[in-house]
Symmetry: C2
Subunit: 230 residues, 2 copies
Amino acid sequence: MIESASSESVEMYLKTVAELGGEHGPVPIGRVAERMGVSPVSANEMMKRLGEQRLIQHQMYKGVSLTGDGRRLANSVIRRQRLWECFLVDHLKLDWARVHDLACDLEHATATEVTEALAQYLGNPSRCPHGNPIPDRDGEVGQENDLTLSRLKVGQSGRIRAIVPESSDLLAYLAERGLIPGQSLTVLEAAPLKGPLTLRVGDSQEEPQVALGLALAELVQIDRVEGKSD
Amino acid sequence: MIESASSESVEMYLKTVAELGGEHGPVPIGRVAERMGVSPVSANEMMKRLGEQRLIQHQMYKGVSLTGDGRRLANSVIRRQRLWECFLVDHLKLDWARVHDLACDLEHATATEVTEALAQYLGNPSRCPHGNPIPDRDGEVGQENDLTLSRLKVGQSGRIRAIVPESSDLLAYLAERGLIPGQSLTVLEAAPLKGPLTLRVGDSQEEPQVALGLALAELVQIDRVEGKSD
DNA sequence: ACGAGTTATAAGGTTTGCCTTATAATAGAC
DNA sequence: GTCTATTATAAGGCAAACCTTATAACTCGT
């Protein structure tokens, strides 16, 4: 467990880099700036500081990736956030689509002591309400398969595992259509020219059909389930 | 319910002024600076800003008192903190003497939405684990009687209502001696020249006696209970 | 009524995290 | 290979909260 005094800002940058895949390959700093609503110059400045602290590694003109320390710190932030999300949804009954943002405020104000007591209180959940994995207390997360709804073929079925990223607009939109983790679905039709998918949501034939743009379908992670036509 | 964007720093200043009695009379800015571990000059600067925002009123060379808005904002901060204290103690089983500080971090990161859901989850408690009242959602708190342990006469009995201020060293010291809210006690002896009190803690004659300096006894608020010798 | 201690203000400095504008360096597409 | 879009760096600024040092104004106890 890495415990260094890090500002809220540093935590947000590291979390963002992690969410953009900084554990694996280099993430362009421009992406980070964009996601954080900050100018590229500002992001660059911060990356220099994070590099000096050995939290990231900067490959010129390529992007940044997390070091071991950076990854552990980022995952500890993500752990805190996702645990709070569980609490806010399961216990406080707050809106599934909004708890991500509410938890984001809490995550920076949460001591390890509180985090671990909360984890125990919640029964050490392994996923947040949006299906994303909760890193363990050492800042490690298991790998997931990377199938998304957009890659499902017509006739194939799957179960929603997670939504990424957890943007409240996106989540609200999906929730309205019943597209939440655990839900099973089948692709009935895929319009040509990267057109929308038509889905059967749920197992029964009676369920309403849902149309979903391919761009959104890319954000829905899927566990494969054998469909009837397989 | 007052909802203005206020920085963590502003919230801490207002909370401090409230705790120092700024609802009633003017509080010297020096006291505030001292309590917050900040230079008097810094506190003065901030008070000027708070005055411009009509959160406090500054009587030159006297001190500051809270305006209506300031009082409501301060009490909303205190409400958040004390609700979190309840949660941390009752549900997460964290250390009674330490939750004050842990909750102080959380209080600034807690949206109204979360505060109110938390209050409901906890059953709308009226007091924090240290006995202090939780303001209602409109930022109002009832008045309390102001009897302290230091003013109890020999032979008199009382029940601990609250500890003020909630400093973790103080709380840990008192908890070690069984001096927690709800505990009843009797003053057996008061040493002369502002010397320490000797207390019987608990109702039974078998309970160990406790010696307590008068300075500390001033920080223990008491509800009067009829003693045997009354 | 004075002097000690508190309180107020002025002036100048630091850090953090952001900004804009401008220029230089590079990568990747054609 | 050149050109465009991205990326990096330099330079200068801003706001929030702090700081120190110095001076001025006031209160209150004796």
